[in-house]
Amino acid sequence: MLWTTPVSVELYRIDDRLIHGQVVVGWGKPLGAEFIALVDDEVAASDWEQDLYRMGVPPEMDVYFDSIESAVARLPDYVADQRRGILLTGDIETMRDLASRSGMIEYVNIGGVHHRPGRHERLRYVFLTPQEEEQLREIAHGGVEVSAQDVPSAAPIPLEEVLASRGSA
């Protein structure tokens, strides 16, 4: 569970804005997060993108950039880190791959998957294609607790409720 397990990665979050206000301020402050691991193949391959994301983060917060490949290898180090951290992916597929390949993720937070053609609204901040819904089910079938929660003060909404929702929740 997010608030009770004493692991240093406090939040595994799917958020298509990656590093932004809700993550750095909304979650980072109350969690006392001192590092962010951003897992995205495209960002991991671009120094320019990495500079862009690093520039917005307060100096006391470290940011690490990983491809899926390197994240699978480094996840044990992140979990063993003495500091609290947040692991971010920009899409559901990346989180699914990371969860299934590492076997180390117990809880996944759907933080923001915004509107795009082909996606249907499930919550105000969660729009999904049928394929993405299936990927979320695959994560859950692997024994991972999956829920949607944009900010810490909101109640987490379990995956089945998200998928049953018809939007504007």
Binding site: R17, G21, V24, L52, M55, G90, H114, H115, R124
Partner: protein, 129 residues
Amino acid sequence: MSSIRAIVIAHAKLAQALVSAVDVIAGRGSEFRALSNEGLGAADVAATLKAALDETGAQVVFTDLPAGSCTLAARRLLRDRPGLRVVVGVNLPMLLDYALRETPGGADVATAAERGRESIRVVDDASVR
């Protein structure tokens, strides 16, 4: 080209509210285009901002949070727009100063940013004794 000199892009309805306040105070709200990131993924925030810059010809963007998606979108666009200037940490005194000042050479952006910074004070009972 439109009379819009700058884009204000921020979370929720903040930009609209700031521009509306500039209009109430100084009657110069029409110098700004207000945008929100509400409901948009990172790519769409950038696309919305790009479209507004293209349409208005504005060369200045005010954003709210340093780590926010609005600021990130603006910084992303800097790569292809060398003349663009982005001011992070927008507040009302800053926008008012920018609206009421137009300096050749674009020094008005730096001045407005400085005014915005200077306007932040902590007032306590010691300061009114």
